[in-house]
Amino acid sequence: MLRALAIYLGLLVLGIILAVAGWVLTPGAASFAFPGPINVTGQSLIALGLTFVVVAIGLLLAGAEERMTAAME
């Protein structure tokens, strides 16, 4: 059970690292004016990193629900 938690947290940390790296690589500030900052590598890393973050948070929430359900039974 701790191994699964470690994997989920590892995924979360990996996602944060990728997103931060992408943010640093992408020049300029975030902007809602089209087209905004453009950098293929940086923005790809941000998107992939945030994907990992979202998936990891989902897995942590699902795992927490299973754990709480088991505790209540």
Partner: protein, 168 residues
């Protein structure tokens, strides 16, 4: 709804904006004006919400049971397994969106106005690799959008509370 709104916020993290409401509105009404009218945005939003509900129903009624039958580890309907199924379905829709929906519909509609390298019209490019000034980052941003949708779907989809095995 969560994914749709998040897509509108993408520029806040330096990503291309994913405004599926406007894209659907342009497709339905043939509105190619810039900036887009609020009517096109609202009608596109309604179409997009209905799309999302239909894909979620297909997931609940067909995809989830079929995945449970085909892949043995995905048989128990625990929260984690439901989430994994939601992610699989989100990934499948990402491929459908990037390979078919965007190039065949949006690319054809906005093709002349979206230019790639050398200022040549490129539609949205093969597998969403030429979305206006954006390259492959649009493809990965589309993946991010569909994973948000998949996570929400998987976490909300809990039809039967089966006996779960604690994983951590």
């Amino acid at each position: 709804m969560v994914a749709t709104v998040t897509g509108l916020w993408f520029p806040g993290v330096k990503l291309p904006q994913f405004d599926f409401n406007t894209l659907n509105g342009r497709l339905a009404l043939g509105d190619l004006t810039f900036p887009v009218s609020s009517t096109t945005f609202v009608i596109g939003g309604i179409i997009h919400m209905i799309d999302g509900i239909i894909w979620a129903l297909i997931f609940g009624l067909i995809i989830s049971p079929v995945l449970g039958v085909l892949i043995k580890p995905l048989r128990p309907m625990t929260p984690t397994v439901n989430l994994v199924k939601g992610l699989i379905w989100g990934g499948a829709l990402w491929i459908i969106s990037s390979a078919l929906w965007m190039p065949l519909l949006i690319g054809a509609l906005l093709g002349p106005t979206l230019t790639g390298p050398f200022q040549l019209p490129c539609g949205v490019g093969p597998f969403l690799t030429c979305f206006g000034p954006y390259g492959v980052q649009a493809l990965f941003t589309n993946l991010f959008w569909h994973m948000i949708w998949g996570v929400n779907l998987g976490l909300l989809f809990n039809p039967i509370r089966s006996t779960s095995r604690v994983r951590w």
